[in-house]
Symmetry: C2
Subunit: 244 residues, 2 copies
Amino acid sequence: MNVSKSGKIYLIPNVISEGTENKVVPPAVLSVIQDIHYYLAEDIRNGRRFLSKLMKLLPENKRHKIESLEFKLLDKRTLYEEAVELMRPVKNGMDCGVISESGCPGIADPGSIIVKAAHQAGIQVIPLTGPSSILLALMGSGMNGQSFTFHGYLPINKKELIRKIKKLETLSESNYQTQIFIETPYRNQKLFETLLEACAPHTRLCVASGITGSEAFIHTMEISEWNNHKIQLKKTPAVFLIET
Amino acid sequence: MNVSKSGKIYLIPNVISEGTENKVVPPAVLSVIQDIHYYLAEDIRNGRRFLSKLMKLLPENKRHKIESLEFKLLDKRTLYEEAVELMRPVKNGMDCGVISESGCPGIADPGSIIVKAAHQAGIQVIPLTGPSSILLALMGSGMNGQSFTFHGYLPINKKELIRKIKKLETLSESNYQTQIFIETPYRNQKLFETLLEACAPHTRLCVASGITGSEAFIHTMEISEWNNHKIQLKKTPAVFLIET
């Protein structure tokens, strides 16, 4: 575990709501970007754009020109051997920043492979504080935060989806554990309606969308209440949580 | 869901490592504390101390005197009916800040009961970005962040603990899911050693302690490697993660 010559890898959370850089980004992030010249991003163009917004939060004499920074791709198609290759400059002493498309690198995104490669190479990994829609939704839900599971995406096929939802209800009941999942925005409404259909009347459902933004929506009600307050969900990223 | 007359409830993360207010607290938190005069805290003295550190990050003319702010207790003994009572001033138009002892209110702490009462009363809940040792540990572990479970504390009795650890290994294997848990600092070493004893040689274990602080430690290795690099864990809060 001799890491003395190596650079460090910094996990830099992105915003989860457009234009909130000046609200949710803590000083530690603005501090490290003054020293990093090598970035890995899920989408290079978006990575550059995010970093250029962060630079604007720094005093002019501390900013880097975005064109002077090196960006490389790290996405779900990145193989472990490629991740090892991407860590080579870090092994040789260069610091590296990892940027997700939204929220925290490594949580519901492809960042973990690079962290795995970093640990393997004895490179120090430094996760930085920032917004996570999953965590903020759980905080805002009022559901059990002493025990919870995040499942990522549920099945698309309706029969399988209903079966899965019922399984999550059982899990919540038997383990007293909040069950958290997400959906691609254009399927939000379908998932919401299937939840109302499949869950027991007393199961509590939280829908959290647009968190940290000006149109943030977080509501928790029993299924029977939701059935009396049916809503149209926006096509924005949402987190769903259930608890029996 | 008419919330027009009500105040709002803001969930304000605390630091997870001593003296890091100026690194991990984002601008949104410093902005809302300028308008809040009513706080709920797990420990009132610590709550006041945290807030007084935050005030020092504001320009002098924006600070409140800590003595001018009202603090009430919200801890694990708080009953739901008491939480409803604590929400009464908010229902009448006053904003409220909820502060945890460490990290995010409602995650592995007693905050969720007040959020439940807020939802029930139609009060808008606003979770704010801040450090979470669980989330930062998961980011920094390199383990699967597409699916994970947080279990809180494991059993203390050694036989039960070993049985539980083996169950978590099975869960990780069958669901391809990272298993996350915590321990009270003075039992860190015992848990660590029991993990080395109970887990299969190829199970990966991440130990994350002191995150966001200057002595942060995050390492992920297979159990067989840990057995060759046995360490003495400090008596500081730590998060443990396993993946098969």
